[in-house]
């Protein structure tokens, strides 16, 4: 007797319960703790890749690719500061703390940036002599934790960046777990060694934009009105946040999107709070334009910048400069496949390693372990960063020339189209092949 055989369907995994979601449920069940990691949002969200430049054609004249001048310099902070900063390229190095990064990595960032005439930024944990010494232009962060904050370093800085938020975690404070609180890090932060350190998410002595205005005035008074003062915000309500930063007296607004890296935060925070940069630039620029402050208060944007096309797109949307964190670390050697065997030992693979908070980075960058940190040669790594920055500038110039611009700042939204309806709506440029800007119908109805 032949038994009836019920044929199986092809095994199908759930789109919602994919392998990653399942592994996270198992991880949570095993530990009872949320997942902490470094880096930025990893899932796909609307991005600068969804934009294209049109280039020159019958109605636009291009510039010769190699010969004709195409400026890349940026002046920052000429609103109030007696000593504004001039960068040779519109790309700066974002604030990354000594603590999250080794002293050698900070030195390499300084060397690379200085070689290209641009700035680096301190981070949550204070200024080290290494980074001051190797950075010709150094921005000093003023964070809620105020770790290592002191007036001497404030006066040594070339600019001051008041950090309100970060794109990876708008509304969240910093986090540095015990493994990375070495003796030196602990001393700089006035904390015991080896404890988990959670930086405050609110500034201790001001709340709201009216207080911030007074705080900025204090910082100007302490430094005799010499230094540009930046205000850094995570992309959340970019129109209002930018307007309020301007109102509070910022010389420069730094706007960081959700793909922007962090040294360590809860995964749920990184992936689910804040806006992608693509959605944040136009509202911020609109706020500046509405206040008559576009190009007077400069806008630096960050969060997922990888190449010269990204740089050019941000500038075309109205930013004055961009800043990079993750890409700079990759240029130094982070996540390099040469360390694949070690990444495997850590249960990951090159390109996916993000347990930066554990301090076991095979590339010796996100660590305080002296043996690992020694693996990074600051001179060589600095050279690599300088090369990479040069390419970003060259690529942005290539695009600008193709669009007929003699300065990268002359790029404009009219040079762009979008590949998706979402990107068209967010960047407020037409969907490719159409003249449709979704949402433009509501123009004049007020901010977004």
């Amino acid at each position: 007797m032949s038994s009836y055989h019920n044929p199986h369907t092809f095994p199908r995994k759930s789109a919602a319960f994919d392998d990653y979601a399942l592994s996270e449920i198992r991880r949570a069940a095993a530990t009872g703790l949320y997942d902490i990691r470094g880096g930025g949002a990893k899932r796909k969200v609307p991005h600068l890749d969804d934009l294209l430049f049109l280039g020159a054609s019958m109605s636009r004249y291009p510039l010769e690719g190699y010969r004709e001048k195409c400026g890349t310099n940026v002046i920052l902070g000429d609103r109030f500061a007696k000593k504004p900063i001039e960068l040779k390229i519109p790309v700066t190095i974002a604030g990354m703390s000594f603590g999250s990064l080794s002293a050698e990595a900070k030195e390499a960032l300084g060397r690379g940036a200085s070689a290209m005439g641009t700035s680096t930024t301190t981070g949550d944990g204070g200024m080290t002599p290494e980074e001051r010494g190797h950075s010709s232009i150094l921005v000093y962060q003023y964070l809620p934790s105020r770790y290592g904050m002191n007036p001497d370093d404030l006066r040594k800085a070339d600019a001051i960046e008041v950090v309100v938020g970060q794109g990876a975690k708008p509304g969240g404070g910093g986090m540095l777990l015990g493994q990375k609180i070495s003796e030196r890090v602990a001393e700089m932060r006035c904390l015991p060694q080896g404890i988990d350190q959670r930086s405050a998410c609110r500034h201790p002595d001001w709340t709201g934009p009216d207080d911030l205005e007074i705080k900025i005035e204090e910082l100007r008074e302490i430094t005799d009105w010499q230094k540009p003062i930046y205000v850094k915000i995570g992309a959340a309500r970019p129109y209002y946040d930018t307007a309020l930063a301007v109102k509070a007296g910022a010389d420069v607004v730094v706007l960081d999107g959700m793909q922007g890296g962090t040294a360590a935060t809860q995964e749920v925070f990184i992936e689910h709070v804040g806006l992608p940069l693509l959605a944040a630039i136009r509202p911020a620029v609109q706020a500046l334009q509405d206040l008559g402050m576009h190009r007077k208060v400069q806008l630096i944007v960050s969060g997922g910048i990888r190449n010269g096309a990204d740089v050019a797109k941000c500038l075309a949307l109205g930013a004055d400069a961009v800043s990079i964190g993750t890409a700079a670390l990759v240029a130094l050697g982070d996540n390099d496949p040469v360390h694949e065997t070690e990444y495997r030992t850590l249960g990951t693979t090159a390109g996916a390693y993000d347990d930066w908070h554990e301090g076991r980075d095979p590339a010796g960058i996100t660590t305080q372990d002296p043996m690992l940190a020694k693996r990074l040669d600051p001179v060589l790594a600095g050279r690599r960063l300088a090369n990479y920055l040069a390419v970003l500038a060259l690529e942005a110039q290539t695009i600008a020339r193709a669009c007929g611009k003699s300065h990268v700042h002359n790029l404009e939204p009219e040079d762009l189209v979008a590949l998706t309806v979402e990107a068209a709506a967010m960047a407020k440029v037409p969907l490719a092949g159409t003249d449709w800007i979704p949402g433009n119908e509501s123009r004049g109805r007020g901010p977004y």
Binding site: R146, M149, L191, D205, E221
Partner: protein
């Protein structure tokens, strides 16, 4: 000793601070008509004495180094914020966040201090003769906070290694802050603080209780979830 008098009604805060930063040799300064202005006498880096005749606004004596600043009136938000060294003495009351994040020196408040006194303090010695408001010594890392009166709610929330001495009542303790034994070494420390404020012989260290970190939140574990 000559006194250099600066009238804020005519020279403004910028005039005062510019002079204080430029003229480091000058030993004694008198500031007239402060009228609640902000950022008075900030960023001093010299062993001078500054006497301010009246009430001051936000951040008076912010980031002070070496100087001795006396406010003959009340002080607004963040007096002596991030002080590194020296001494700031408020003869009246102080608003929120007095001595916030200060790394060193001493802050003495003759009256009361409002909420968040000593928030994120990193080594300063703060002494308040009156009461302090809620959330004081929030995330306090190092230094001492001595209160002759009472403390408001959530004292020492998420405190690290700072030491708190309170003579009066405490409305409530914040996460990870507990009362601790007052051993001889703490009595000696407190005596030193009282003495520095000229209160030795007037105030008895035996009347104080000590508060500090239970150190349970120092390393994150799921067993502490109810504390977060």
């Amino acid at each position: 000793m000559t006194t250099r008098v600066i009238d804020l009604a005519t020279e403004g805060v910028r005039g005062l601070n510019a002079a204080l930063h430029a003229d480091k040799a000058h030993k004694h300064w008198q500031v007239l008509n402060p009228a609640g202005l902000h950022s008075i006498a900030v960023g001093i880096d010299a062993p001078t004495t500054v006497e301010i005749d009246g009430h001051v606004g936000y951040y008076c004596a912010g980031m002070n180094k070496h100087a001795s600043v006396t406010v003959k009136g009340n002080a607004g938000v963040g007096v002596a914020e991030n002080m590194m060294s020296g001494r700031v003495h408020v003869l009246g009351d102080a608003s929120q966040a007095a001595g916030a994040t200060a790394h060193g020196g001493s802050l003495i408040i003759d009256g009361n201090a409002s909420a968040r006194c000593g928030i994120s303090m990193k080594g300063v010695d703060i002494l308040v003769k009156g009461n302090i408001g809620h959330m004081s010594a929030f995330m306090a890392q190092a230094g001492t906070l001595t209160v002759l009166g009472n403390a408001g709610d959530a004292l020492g929330d998420s405190i690290y290694e700072a030491k708190i001495f309170v003579r009066g009542t405490v409305a409530g303790l914040g996460a990870d802050c507990i009362e601790k034994e007052m051993r001889d070494e703490h009595k000696a420390l407190l005596f030193g603080r009282l003495k520095a404020a000229g209160l030795d012989g007037q105030v008895d260290v035996g009347e104080f209780r000590r508060y500090g970190s239970a150190r349970k939140l120092y390393n994150f574990t799921t067993d502490n979830l109810d504390a977060y």
